[in-house]
Symmetry: C5
């Protein structure tokens, strides 16, 4: 009867609270999520105006290249290889709790600051709105990214590195981290736009014809927007942490860029708020319009019943089987020559009177 929202939303729902794996273990002790995908490493080195990109290298190879480059970006897609993640942590002096956050996905977006690097966790959405956790570490000369599975929003950044974009080739890790985080936030826009389009489509639909299938769809969109809000607000706060930061490896110029990302997140939050409110308004609108439709139906029922039930009663009265021969005071009209047309006339007069009454009451 009612369309069941499909596979995609189902998957989204699953991503809510994942801490089962880590609970019970000592804090800071890494426990792989049994469903984590195998880790694939890729490394990009930037320096001297050149960029080098190696995908699918071993961790040893990757780390060996670190010294060779002023700016070193190591990406780990898939979080199953706990041992490798621990080695990266040791190499870059990452905090054990940060590593635990990396492998315990569905973290709330946040930014944590250490003496020599920042740890930024956020949500990366693909075009279908499915998400995975992205963890970014950046300090002096290195950027580390961890994601749940291959496939990310970084294509434009890689392309710009390949094309030799000057700002990326300036060799500042904070700018590279900004470029990655910006690319992830940019990928929220098509998702939000599609939600907006669905709501506006539903608005047109509801104003055209009210339909009971519209409500589950509205509910589904609102729920998706509610889910998105969960990631947007803490992302904004995490960016605020960066903006207030004063460390040598975070340059003032780059902060302006992070401020720009925060503006984008603000815009997404505004749109999310406005359209969730609009969706609530649409639920009210739907309720009122379908109540109006029901009223129309009930009005018709009442008019028909109110006219024909009394007339039917009259017909029934004239259909009673009283014995006309025994009666002193007989059924009126039944024994008279013009009885039948007069009876019909009485009925027509009653019907006309009721119709006039309804018109006066504006029910017609």
């Amino acid at each position: 009867m009612v369309s069941i929202p499909g596979r995609r939303q189902k998957k989204r729902r699953k991503e809510v609270i994942k801490r089962a794996a880590a609970i019970g273990a000592a804090p800071g002790v890494l426990v792989a999520d049994p469903q984590a995908e195998a880790s694939v490493f890729s490394v990009i080195g930037i320096g001297g105006g050149r960029g080098e990109y190696h995908q699918g290298v071993s961790l040893d190879d990757a780390l060996a290249r670190r010294a060779a480059w002023p700016l070193f970006w190591l990406d780990c897609s898939g979080l199953a290889d706990i041992e490798a993640i621990r080695r990266i942590g040791a190499e870059f002096s990452l905090h054990p709790l940060a590593l635990e956050d990396v492998v315990t996905t569905d973290q709330r977006p946040k930014c944590e600051i250490q003496a020599d690097h920042a740890f930024f966790v956020m949500r990366m959405l693909d075009r279908a709105g499915d998400g995975e956790q992205l963890s970014v570490f950046f300090g002096d000369g290195f950027v580390l990214t961890f994601q749940e599975r291959p496939g990310d929003s970084f294509a434009p950044v890689r392309e710009r590195i390949a094309k030799g974009a000057p700002r990326l080739h300036a060799g500042r890790a904070d700018y590279l981290a900004y470029a990655l985080i910006d690319a992830v936030v940019d990928a929220y826009f098509p998702v939000v736009e599609s939600q907006v389009a669905r709501i506006e489509g539903l608005e047109d639909d509801i104003l055209a014809t009210v339909d009971e299938d519209q409500v589950p769809e509205l509910h589904a969109v609102r729920r998706e927007m509610l889910g998105l809000k969960r990631w947007l607000r803490p992302t904004r706060d995490a960016l605020g942490t960066l903006l207030r930061l004063d460390r040598p490896w975070l340059h003032a110029e780059t902060k302006a860029y992070f401020g720009d990302v925060q503006d984008h997140v603000d815009q997404l939050i505004d749109t999310n708020d406005t359209y969730r409110d609009t969706a609530s308004g649409l639920i009210d609108l739907h309720m009122t319009l379908s109540a109006a439709k029901t009223n129309e139906v009930i009005n018709l029922l009442t008019i028909i019943s109110t006219i024909f039930i009394p007339l039917g009663f009259l017909a029934g009265v004239w259909g009673m089987n009283f014995n006309p021969e025994l009666s002193r005071w007989n059924m009126p009209l039944t024994q008279s020559p013009y009885g039948y047309p007069l009876a019909l006339g009485v009925m027509a007069a009653i019907a006309a009177g009721l119709l006039a009454y309804f018109r006066r009451r504006r029910w017609l």
Copy 2:
């Protein structure tokens, strides 16, 4: 059945999140929106008690005049000419991200401060409530404005310059910027007034007769007000940024004027809040009043049915074809001389009893 809100709202809806063009490009790299209108430049120079106004000049001509005037206002209507915008950016040392915001319209209103100028983004509404983005840069001796298309709210300012208004001719860029922003905020008032008038009109309508067409109209107004709120709140914050600022090119006296604009925005926000709340109250009112109307209809249906269905049953009983000759205990009254009037009397008594019952229950 239900009136579809017209063209204007449709257009408004489109203006929600426009970042498609810029996504994928490097940050700070200008990408023209393919639908942007051609850029037209006009320049106003003020100094020595005189004002000069040149519309539709080339960018070269415009910039050439800069040195000649203590106060220089360059307006760019239409954002298609990316190259010219980049040149203006270079000439006035504007931040690449600010330029990106200029061409990526539908920015959230904001104010960004640089060492030697401020960058103010806001929404400019025309009388129909359609909006375009206005970007204002102002520093020592210059004001730059960028708008999406020709046609703006600046007519009163231009007129005052033409008339030689002393404060504008004092040659302070911050005061000119204030005058422009104030003119834009002033243009919100007729839009809000028309929304208020529509809500008050609907209130009178609903209290007079409830009608299913009122709900889509209410929804449309609330949605427009919700859309307006999106621009108002950040505009307030942006003005607050200016008020807290301490720079030589923003004079204390001018801040008092910006404070005045902020008061106007506060007033608009208050009105917006109050009337959105009123509109919600009207939706409740509509719901209750149309439920009351339905109740009235259902009451009538019940009264008519409750009276005539039992009577109709009685008439049916007296109309049954039992063979009177074979019966020992015959249908009462059918074979008696006063049977018919007595039967009608029984029916009338039942009807009267039911009516009395309804009156006691206050259903009549």
Copy 3:
């Protein structure tokens, strides 16, 4: 059908956003509202333990008296005489924007501080709840008040001056300003009390009998309280500005009094919040109770229909005109001696069974 809220609310509604007159003019240039009333000046001088009160004097006379008195209070009722207002502004060095606020009524309440005086704008209500704007300037030795029309809440203050109240005769302008603002806030109490009384009256009414006229009345009260809230919250903030102020012409002792006014405003806000919430609860209550009434009606309809429609069908069956002579298997009972009473018995049994069923379901 439904009572239309009367003239008073209508008038209130009009007072929403009045900036039409000032828009288009240069900021700080005074433009009279075409509907402004003629200005009438009155002046009170206090000093040496005496108070002098002159009503309806010319502005020249009024200002001429200024030097004669340590404390000088000039009141201007009616805002049509722009020229006079401008002269007062010049005499007391008022800011042009403040003067613009004085004549552009329906300002949001606020307090602005200058070096040598404070400017306080608020709403003055009469007993019917109609409002006008009151602007108060006070500095060292002078208080200026501007109101939209004659008739104000200052009678108790004038009386206390006439009676020689010592604190008023101490000659401090800030205390006089406090006394005036306090008198205006005191005039809110009867208005709020009448709203509270209306809500409590409606509560009793609704609990006694639900009635469709109650909802527009509830809506009207909520709307009035919403309107009042618009003035209360900013008035609280404006008083807060005064309390945080440190100027020689605002004495610490007087601040305690302003704190007392703020307490009163807080109390009004609390009451307003609580009773608006109560009014919302009453709308829910009304909805539920009238739904309960409808249910009762529908229940009756169902019981009557469910009993008599099947019985009517049975009567109809026994009234069918099958030819008894041709029938092999005739209508049961119609040809039997006790058919008729048996048929009635069958009907009575069905009715009794249905009634028992309804009783078990608790629908009776």
Copy 4:
């Protein structure tokens, strides 16, 4: 039809905004509420390990004892004796505005700090939830309490003084003030517990059988909780003022105790919030469950009508009086030997079909 909430709530409602008496008088001039009860004074002196308690003494007697005791607590129950209150104010240098607050009951809870004493206003509830205003002044060596009528929550404190509780006998006025305020807050707990119990009782009731009397009761509880919230939040703030205070007559150790009272108020606020929210949820629950009951009734109506109205029509058709002798194409079955059973069979088939349809639609 619906139970009217009783006397207690009625009384509570009256206690909303009482400023009528004081309005019009000069600020700080005491005006007795005409309904104020006669003042009764009692005094407790503590010192040297002993406590003395005198009830119903004259004010002269009471004040005369002040010097004799290191810690002096004067209680005034009943606020009619304005002259005595003024004398107390003079004796302890209380601020005239504070005295005005003492006699103008229904003040918002607050704490005001003077150089040598604090003034604390709050609401004292009895077990039935009725309230009166309690004003507490405390400074070095003295505590003054003012209440609207005899009967208070101080019994446990008096008992502890009588028993010689060491902390109370240490002679610190701030600790005695704490003990009094704590006793008053403790008296909120049974009131809140009874509200919680009523809501939980209603919850059980509604889940058992929905009933239209539950809604007014829910409304009454929500309203009482709303009223309580009005006192709780400002009491919390008033305690916060004390906690931030730094005066010699408020010892750090006592502050820990005031912090404990604030914890209790926080707990009351939490419970109030949670249960008001629960009550709102119950209103929704009630609405949905009674809508479900209506649906059930309407379903039955529809099923009965939909089955018997068509059958009744068929019976009516077979009951029409067409002249069988004149007809060429006669009413089917009426002239055939098995007509009657066949007609009944047709009807039974239709009924069975409709029932099957309803079962498939899950309406049965």
Copy 5:
């Protein structure tokens, strides 16, 4: 008719405001809750790389071991032994108010700081969601825990001590306190997950078939989540107090761990907020979908009635007993050869017309 939420929720409800026992007693005087369970003491000593665990020891034995170990953890399960608790308080110089909070369960979570130790109160949930109060004191070298009954969330911590986890064996009391609090917060996750699962299950159910039993279940989950929120928010604040603290016995490294616990609480709060909002959305969805179902039923009723009531009336008219011999203008068709089929045709035409009308109105 409707499922009553079971024993578990019932028990939860009881745990709302428990201060009855302590009210009336002097503050800081310990009064045992008459329902408190008997106290059982267990002690864990850590030092020199070893851990010792003694359960069920006497308090004397327990305290005697304190000196032997650098890190001493004393746990007291069951709060009936007031005397023992008082002795512990004396031994560790705990504040009397803190001890009162320990035995007055259902405290709002909070953290209070003394010179040499911190006092942390929170809620400990078991898998069924039932809670008890946990009080933790920790200072230099000792951790004290008090719980309402045996059975806790500390198993993983004890196991790690037994296994010789290095961080726990470093002998820092703050880290042990962190480990305990973290274990308690971890136990919230399965409870929240089960709530989320119930809501998602209900969502699927409602979208499949609307059912009146879903609403009480929704209400029950929302209520449980509301109850949980009461513990979560203050727990977050209490952790914030620790994070801002600067004491020698709280190491900077441990603070990072407390920050991690706060992140978990934030995540729980986010999930709680999002899913309570979702549950509200589901109530709306349920309401709309069951209204849609009712509309469908009413539509059918209207269609059937609107078609068959007029037809029934026609059949009644043709069934009236007018005497054909006396009539001049007889009932049409009754005396004609094709009367009967023509009459049926008229009826069929009317039915077809109405059906066409309904189809045009989209009611079919």
